[in-house]
Symmetry: C3
Subunit: 173 residues, 3 copies
């Protein structure tokens, strides 16, 4: 499959054969949603698609280093309660017996599925564009220097929409 795709990529800069594009808005910070987002993003990149991920609100933690954030009292509370990095994300189903993150981690490892943090780092390596939302950064008091290497400059909704308009695939996760 990837060889067919690669062959196609050599053959065509003509409009109809232009590189396919995908835009994913990541608002969720849940383990399972992030997992899906990065699997889809990396899958697209491996198929030769030009992939943009726009991280907003709870999604910002997915591209953060494990450092404290916050200037004001509220900002520090956000930093303390929703802090850390992508390894702190929990499955969206809290009712799931509380085992959540740990159990799924075990089950995924048993099936040779990459860890979430590995999928995230793979996205950077594959050239997926990881863009943080400026407004969310301001509100949640998360400065750009707390993001991992490879994260692009902060952008606004206008940038995301221009990317999305040119994309053949868009998802809101």
């Amino acid at each position: 499959m990837s060889s067919d795709v690669a062959a196609g990529a050599i053959a065509g800069p003509a409009p109809a054969e232009r590189k396919k594009k995908m835009t994913i808005v990541v608002m969720s910070g849940d383990f399972d949603k992030l997992f899906g987002a990065f699997i889809i993003a990396n899958g697209g990149a491996a198929m030769g698609m030009d992939v943009t991920m726009f991280f907003t609100f709870w999604g910002l933690r997915a591209i953060k280093k494990n450092v404290r954030t916050g200037k004001t009292l509220f900002g520090k509370m956000v930093g303390a309660m929703y802090g850390g990095d992508i390894t702190k994300s929990n499955p969206s189903k809290f009712s799931f017996g509380g085992m959540g993150r740990w159990m799924f981690g075990k089950m995924m490892a048993a099936n040779n599925v990459a860890k979430l943090i590995e999928l995230r780092d793979m996205a950077v390596m594959l050239g997926v564009g990881l863009y943080p939302c400026q407004m969310s950064m301001d509100v949640m008091e998360i400065p750009h220097e707390t993001f991992i290497d490879g994260v692009k400059d902060a952008v606004g909704v206008g940038f995301m929409l221009m990317e999305a308009e040119e994309s053949s695939v868009q998802f809101f996760i």
Copy 2:
């Protein structure tokens, strides 16, 4: 509607000159999700896109006035428990210390970010099409007269899909 679509197919402008279109299905009633939905919708409208929002299930409250709804016992219970208007929406993360709506409101105000209700009213002003889902209205016993001014006539999934098909951007929120 279908006659307009047919007419457009015959007499409309060339594809490249056509106004860009976006369709957003809003099923969530969460503060953060609604915030994202209206920021995206208003951003699109400001960029000249033709934006359709289809409100269904929990999303209906976002376009409601602050009035009680419900005819049957169940309907009245829905009206009492999930009633009010967009100002009653809570963040999707309940575990967030309980401060949720109030704290984020403060943090957004500190960054000169518009309130959710202001973003909603701005959407009406910018000509974003706010459409309620007829089936959800029936099931939840929310009649059209309880919606704010500017909300369009109730429509079904067929209308939403025709809009989505013509849209270069679609999101399910």
Copy 3:
């Protein structure tokens, strides 16, 4: 697969006459989200669209028979806690007084709205393609023989993305 796609691109009907296509990624197992997913899928199929649903993670239960799953201890725990079939799905709002599934069932019946399981079976009848995600099946230890009749062979994210790329409408639910 990609050779079929290439052949189709050369020999297929003109773009304007091509069948419209929709791809829905179903990660949620919530009653309300599944309800929306099947209403949209069936609506699209009824309008003549070619509809693909890609079930992953919590979404897998929607296409399962009411049988136990799991080989390992963890797998059996998943099977016990998140087992059963589509009739076990609960609304995404847990805070909704606990009545959830039962009450909405009553309200939907009162408005002659089809049950969720009926909508699912209708999707099979209408020719909607129901595809399970192989990686999720492996991790959650849900084998293909536990799915209902009509479910397609398991696929990966590459298949889903190729479908999505050809689709005029895509949703992540």
